[in-house]
């Protein structure tokens, strides 16, 4: 297991203009029933093979808190995974 996935989302109370733009475009697509869109970011951190799991967790949390997310406006979650996730 060498991969940590960090998901960063704007806090619910922060306006997401990108999401608003998308939700406003949906009717033009013929899509109905979607009342809200929020757009976030996924970051994958690859650690060297054999890195200790708790060390990975701790480092990833530190990296996410200090650099990948701005805790003033964003929340983040961290999860360890043992394989590349399908992106398509």
């Amino acid at each position: 297991m060498t991969r940590v996935v960090v998901d960063v989302m704007l806090k619910p109370e922060i306006l997401d203009p990108q999401g608003e733009a998308v939700v406003n475009a949906l009717p033009r697509l013929g899509a109905s029933g979607v009342s809200s869109v929020r757009i976030g970011k996924r970051i994958e951190l690859e650690f060297a093979e054999g890195t200790d799991e708790s060390a990975m967790q701790e480092q990833a949390t530190n990296i996410a808190d200090k650099l990948l997310a701005n805790p003033v406006i964003e929340d983040f979650t961290i999860r360890l995974t043992d394989q590349a996730e399908p992106t398509g």
């Binding site: 704007l10 922060i14 306006l15 203009p17 650099l67 990948l68 003033v72 406006i73």
Partner: protein, 227 residues
Amino acid sequence: MSPRIGVVTFPGSLDDVDAMRAVRLAGATPVPLWHDDGALRGVNAVILPGGFSYGDYLRCGAIARFSAVMETIVDAARGGLPVLGICNGFQILCESHLLPGALTRNQQLHFRNRDQGLEIANAETAWTSAFNSGDRIVVPVKNGEGCFVADQKTLDELESENRIVARYVDGNPNGSQRDIAGITNAAGNVVGMMPHPEHAVEQLTGPSVDGLGIFTSVLTYLGATTA
């Protein structure tokens, strides 16, 4: 000897030369500072200019916060050094936690570039003493991520402690909460503002010369503190 005012150049800074020019027109000596060098070269104040530090690839100002020069500036600012962050510089000050809140994508999503009316709300900071509270000025604004946000408690504190330095008037270009265009720290030596006073220091190239007051203010402040 005229005060030495440092202007930091990060990779991607755009307005460092304009800021140095404004410093010179105000009567001080501009001193170029480099992002990768923590030395402050004996400067009496520092300006973080506009632009796109380190490409703003992650978040505006997020990478600049970890530069060698910012490590030094954060300590010096906590010790009282006057620091002005303009546009990207304001974003860097928020990311460095020298100022509260954050700058997010403009509410209308559009990059805004226009001459902007401002009301000076606090004329007692190191960078605004040349004005009177309530003065209206016009300086250019140009940003894509200039929407100031903070939680309600922080916004209330900023208001009650008179730490809102400038407000947008005649239209809010980016959706900033409570029309905030600039704020200061509790001590009044660190100021961040989204609009660009350094682009309004000469009649030929700016909409006014209102911006010059920002740069002469710090000279008065330094004169007063060294006298």
